[in-house]
Amino acid sequence: MSAMDAGGTVTGATRREWLGLSLAAAALPLLPAAGTAAVLKYPLAPVAIAPGVWTIYGVNEPITARNGGAIANIAILDTRDGAVLIDAGPSHRYGEALKALTAELTGKPVVRVYLTHLHSDHVLGASAFDSGVVAAGRILTADLKRHGNALTDGMYRVAGDWMRGTGVPEPGRAATDGTEAIGERRFRTILLSGHTREDLCLYEERSGLLFAGDLVFLDRAATTPDASLDAWRASLATLRSIDRKLLVPGHGPVEPGERGIEQTLRWLDTVEGQIAEGFERGLDLTELMAVPLPSWTDPIAVARYEYGRSVMHLMPGLERERLPKLSPA
């Protein structure tokens, strides 16, 4: 259900890690075979995108038991007062790994975790952090309370053992429209909507980075289980107006320029248009899901998968509103 957002698969352990595993197995023959008992470990590979700022890229796949749901971009920002995270990943295990990586990179504890929106791949890792450092908008906090168990249920089923120990985060701090100074950095928090009922975007003034959450997807198809397309377009216009050095999308590469915003808009227009056109031709859901996408979407990861989901999300609304209402015979 809507709990299971985007998705992706896993690159698995690095070569060095595999080597380590084999050596360990050779040295300790009583250990169970690595293939069956290897402890699940997220291979977090931080990429520096600005001084003291790293992104951990998610894989461009649906959530699977192979990738453990590590499909969304997560950011780490160093400040003199401690580290700031933007989103926390899909599971408690991811959150713990993120905490360790942050200590390694910055040598400081995490003093703030901003959660952008109600999708498992972004928020469930926050259960590894003290709720006093976790900040979210009012609507997200309320939705986590209401739908959080459905999110974890869905994720336990899809991602399996990766999820062990994951609970529903209870953000202890309210993010509102405004500015928060942490150390030498100043975070402008901007509450938008469209991808979900509430999408928190952050602009960090010192670095000029704009963290768009899942309002922007780049080279990976956008997901629509909780979307309101008109609100989404309006939010993209707001993001476009923010002067920035780099835009960090929720999924896909960090880039300067407009490409992420343009592509997300074009994807939404394409999907909405194709669904509306299929409705006008009288197609039912499975028929519409089989209609090919235009070729410009070919390079976009999981395009067909997400288009099919969007048909199931968006078509019922057209049927409810646009099929002619008939008076009783």
Binding site: G154, R281, T286, M312, L326, A329
Partner: protein, 266 residues
């Protein structure tokens, strides 16, 4: 005092004549319940697994309470009856269609309790042609209250929205949505309340398609059928009845022109 545990009544052996021929054929979906289902719903006739009977399912179960299913057996030609069978389900016969004057096609949405084979048995004379696929799904579409609170607009119950398209080759395409809670009686304190029959006729009342629906059909039944264009009249009539005796009727105007269809039809 000990109360002896009551013994189950001995199972009555099924008469040999009732055993469906399917028992001799391996179920392509390997379901342990297939023989029971075939015995219950298809007994007495020859059963063949036939790839011309297509069950089209989504690539991912997005919502267990609204799973889209399309049955397309047009490759067989005309059929007398289509029964949709769902092995692992509290209501294993969600829908039965008599396409009296319609093509062997129906699309609908159903609630799913767990991953299960979904099949269509299409009858021509004394032969059931059976096709199907496995649907992977999480549980809970039938017995767990929906996560997003189920909203029922009681004033709108019975509202019918529908539209007809004129297809090539003298056929029509009917898409229809009937507002109804389709409560299946499995959620505490909500009694069963669902649409049991839905008939499509021409303006003179001659049947084109007769549907029997069950508790398994999703809230606000949304259907696609391919009735033949009637010789006379400018409307098709739809009449549905629920298990409380509620009758819901509508007349759907037949468009004059053939639509530009293009690709995309199954």
């Amino acid at each position: 005092m000990m109360i002896p545990f009551p013994k189950a009544a001995p199972r009555v052996a099924r008469a040999a004549a009732e055993v469906p021929r399917a028992t001799a054929i391996r179920d392509p979906l390997g379901s342990p319940l297939w023989n029971d289902l075939a015995g219950r719903y298809l007994a007495g006739r020859t059963i063949v697994f036939d790839e011309r009977v297509q069950v089209v399912l989504p690539h991912v179960t997005e919502n267990q309470s609204q799973v889209p299913v399309a049955v397309d057996a047009r490759a067989l030609g005309r059929a007398e009856e289509i029964a949709v069978l769902v092995d692992l389900h509290p209501f294993p016969l969600p829908l039965r269609l008599e396409p009296v004057a319609a093509q062997a096609f129906v699309a609908f949405r159903m609630k799913i309790e767990q991953g299960t084979p979904i099949r269509a048995a299409v009858r021509q004379g004394d032969v059931w042609h059976v096709g199907g696929r496995y649907l992977d799904a999480a549980g809970g579409g039938c017995t767990v209250a929906p996560v997003a609170e189920k909203k029922i607009d009681w004033d709108a119950v019975g509202e019918i929205r529908a539209r007809l398209w004129r297809e090539a080759e003298a056929g029509l395409r009917l898409r229809l949505r009937l507002v109804h809670p389709m409560d299946n009686g499995m959620i505490g304190n909500i009694p069963a309340f669902f649409v049991e029959t839905l008939d499509v006729t021409d303006a003179g009342g001659n049947p084109l398609a007769k549907l029997t629906l069950s508790e398994a059909i999703a809230q606000d039944p949304t259907l696609t059928l391919l009735p033949d264009a009637p010789a006379a009249g400018s409307v098709l009539k739809v009449a549905a009845r629920d298990n409380n005796g509620g009758l819901y009727k509508a007349e759907v105007p037949i468009p004059a022109k053939t639509a530009h269809l293009g690709e995309g039809r199954l």
